[in-house]
């Protein structure tokens, strides 16, 4: 019984130390060092907030670069992956459908040029990035629909491509939202 009484007091003491002390220290740190006062960082266009920098969103308009398929329709309130096994026949049919749709939208591409990441769903359903290759295959479509030259759009993609960390570790990537915001700014 004595141990149990100590347990109660101990748990409360730990709440003070951790759930209050440690959390307050981090919250105050966030006031100083966080990019957006501890909240999700946002992107603005003409003074209007158009999205969170690190959270992907749906793009279907042909004037925009498209992101990866999402199992939750880019719902930032409820993340999720498809959890489909790559051996599941139903899943493979779904991917086949996406490949065909992508080829219809980009008739200039051959099948082996379609990168797999643009037709497979991300883990979070909120992936903000695509690979440079997945951006490159969309350049021609975006350029045509915006009346821009392919070189202009391609240069924009290149300038927004982020190289691996320190140039050595991880993957290169392009943030879809920042790319599309840059396009909108350019078209003005």
């Amino acid at each position: 019984m004595k141990s149990f009484w100590i347990s109660i007091k101990y748990t409360v003491a730990m709440c003070v130390l951790l759930s209050i002390g440690y959390v307050v220290v981090l919250r105050l740190t966030a006031k100083v060092v966080s990019p957006n006062d501890g909240e999700a960082e946002v992107v603005t266009l003409d003074g209007r907030i158009v999205g969170a920098a690190n959270v992907g969103q749906t793009f279907t308009d042909t004037c925009y670069f498209w992101g990866r398929p999402s199992a939750v329709g880019y719902d930032g309130g409820a993340s999720g992956g498809s959890n489909k096994a790559t051996t599941n026949p139903e899943y493979l049919e779904e991917v086949e459908g996406r490949i065909e749709a992508f080829l219809t939208a980009h008739p200039y591409l051959s099948r082996e040029e379609v990168p797999s990441e643009i037709v497979t769903a991300s883990g979070s359903g909120l992936d903000p990035d695509i690979s440079p290759r997945a951006a490159a295959v969309q350049v021609k479509r975006v350029a045509e629909n915006r009346g821009l030259s392919e070189t202009t759009v391609k240069n924009l993609v290149d300038s927004l491509t982020r190289q691996p960390w320190l140039g050595l570790f991880g993957t290169p990537k392009v943030n879809v939202l920042s790319l599309n915001v840059a396009l909108d700014k350019m078209s003005k």
Binding site: S34, G38, Q57, G76, A78, G81, E117, A121, D129
Partner: protein
């Protein structure tokens, strides 16, 4: 060289290089020697005073276990009440409702057992209050509880002949103030700089570029993520854990978080070496564990980077590897690396969907958890290895005709019985659980289709993975499984309790029993436990026990899945 592979190599090097000094530091902390962290002493004295703990009292192993079990029992009540009532409690800006009784039972047990199996999604299933006062609190203190148990065992093995194994409360408090909290603060600050949210406002609602409404969940995420990794807990702040772009914003944070999973379990092996002054033994154990871990990484990284054969057959480019369920900023190699790291420890956080990884990666993840002692959870992982050591000592003793001894203490029938029970409990609960759920699924196809997200062999893998993860106190899942039902909540809850507390009790008891025995000085007739030969022997014992118990189940699940064309 490929930058994705370089990332994995850097990660591995950072772990191996830094675990040694950290291990030395942890040993000093438990010995009570002077360290740089002595400025925490007033906080510790405050805790002892408030709780009426006398830090100078040494406990015997029975008192030690009594304190451990009492505090865990109280945590269960604490968690249950707060989770069910969270709808009425403060810090709930998104207005999330309380959990149902069966869900709260599962959540509570799973966080108490340091497992962090999650049958809910963080964005909707918890309030900020329960995130901080149940989830985060438990992530600190249950990890500290495991570390305290290991400190007790180390203390028992150090003494020549003793009844006292140290003070549970002191070991636990120091684990929090000297190890977990300082490291968590460091990781937390780095995450905040990289854009992980740390605020108390509710969801942000905004209009996207194409004019749709989007809500963005946020909150005090940067407080929970560091300890979820460091304490080998694994329960994510957001539903999809570290694949969420706010929880894990870029390649650097991915590396940092993955490092944080394994650094303490690795350091614990060296802490043992320094504590017992048997560095050679620590190197031997470390060698076996590192070999198994690295072998898993090589297999899984090559599988994921190689991509899926079925997708390959569709004739599209798979340069990035198998990308279903993975994030572009992380990539397939780092996802595979994380999958191995999170399953060799009892962590269970994920940065990609394990359900969607290729079959052999899934098998390696399960195998790591079924063996459950390559580094393992903070504290308890080494303790599982300890059970196998006892068995290996006994078997090799019989083989070469020497009295089985470990660290100068004779291993006798009583210790052997406990060690064997502990070792066999693990396959027993996993296989019985999977058999039961498969039997139910076969006799009621409606149930099968309600539970499983994938058909055939992969469906069996989903169930096998769930019980494996529960029994290993891991908490990751093949998340396609619809697991928030009474059957899964309760059955995995029972597995969790059995496989957390039986091994801890058994292992502390073995150590306590050994401690009381007469110390026999080493002689020519002693079986040496810090040699390459004995390390190999231990590896073989572990591998045979796991392979023999689990091979049939793995053959029907991931292996059959792999062979399907």
């Amino acid at each position: 060289m490929n930058t994705e592979i370089l990332g994995v190599v850097l990660q591995w090097v950072c772990l191996v290089v830094l675990c040694y000094p950290l291990g030395r530091y942890i040993a000093k902390v438990y010995k009570g020697e002077r360290t740089w962290s002595d400025f925490m002493a007033p906080a510790e004295r405050w805790v002892y005073r408030i709780c009426g703990i006398d830090p100078n009292v040494d406990m015997n192993w029975k008192q030690f276990l009594k304190a451990l079990l009492a505090v865990n029992l109280f945590w269960f009540l604490w968690g249950m009440i707060l989770l069910v009532c969270q709808g009425w409690l403060p810090l709930n800006p998104d207005g999330n409702a309380g959990q149902t009784a069966s869900q709260a039972f599962n959540t509570c047990i799973s966080f108490m057992a340091n497992c962090n199996l999650q049958h809910y999604s963080g964005e909707t299933g918890l309030s900020y209050f329960t995130q901080l006062y149940v989830i985060m609190l438990f992530q600190f203190i249950t990890a500290a509880c495991g570390m305290a148990a290991m400190a007790g065992i180390m203390n028992a093995l150090k003494g020549k002949t003793t009844k006292a194994i140290g003070n549970f409360w002191v070991f636990m408090t120091k684990s929090v103030t000297r190890v977990l909290m300082p490291l968590a603060l460091l990781v937390g600050i780095l995450l905040i700089i990289n854009g992980t949210p740390m605020s108390f406002d509710g969801k942000q609602t905004l209009r996207t570029l194409e004019g749709n409404e989007q809500v963005i969940s946020q909150g005090p995420a940067a407080a929970i993520i560091p300890i979820k990794q460091l304490g080998t807990n694994g329960g994510g702040y957001f539903g999809v854990n570290s694949s969420h772009p706010l929880e894990n914003p870029n390649a650097f944070t991915n590396m940092l978080e993955c490092w944080a999973i394994l650094i303490i379990p690795m350091a614990m092996v060296f802490a043992l070496g320094f504590y017992l002054r048997r560095k050679k033994l620590a190197w031997c154990i470390f060698g076996v564990m590192l070999f198994a871990y690295t072998a898993g990484i090589v297999i899984s990284v090559s599988q994921e980077m190689g991509g899926s054969r079925q997708i390959e057959a569709m004739g599209i480019a798979q340069d990035m590897g198998s990308m279903e369920g993975k994030e572009v900023r992380i990539g397939s190699a780092a996802s595979a690396m994380w999958g191995m790291t999170t399953t060799v420890t009892s962590n269970g956080s994920v940065n990609s969907m394990h359900d969607s990884q290729t079959p052999l990666s899934g098998m390696m993840q399960m195998l790591n958890m079924q063996i459950n002692c390559w580094f393992g959870g903070v504290g308890v992982g080494w303790m599982n290895y300890f059970s196998f050591l006892i068995i290996a000592v006994f078997i090799s003793g019989l083989m070469v005709g020497r009295t089985p001894e470990f660290l100068g203490k004779k291993v006798e029938a009583r210790e052997m019985k406990i060690a064997t029970l502990v070792v066999l409990l693990h396959p027993f609960v996993i296989l019985v659980g999977t058999a039961l759920s498969s039997w139910l699924a076969v006799y009621d196809p409606e149930l099968a289709s309600a539970w499983l997200n994938n058909p055939s062999f992969h469906g069996l893998s989903e169930m096998l993975y769930e019980y494996t993860s529960s029994a290993a106190n891991n908490g990751s899942g093949f998340e396609g499984l619809t697991d928030n039902t009474d059957f899964w909540n309760i059955s995995t809850g029972i597995v969790l309790i059995l496989s957390r507390y039986f091994p801890i009790v058994g292992q502390v008891a073995i150590a306590g029993l050994l401690a009381e025995k007469k110390y026999i000085p080493e002689s020519a007739g002693t079986l040496k436990t810090d040699t390459g030969t004995f390390s190999l022997m231990t590896f073989v014992v572990i591998f045979i026990v796991a392979a023999l118990s689990f091979f049939p189940a793995l053959a029907l699940g991931p292996i059959a899945d792999y062979l399907t064309i």
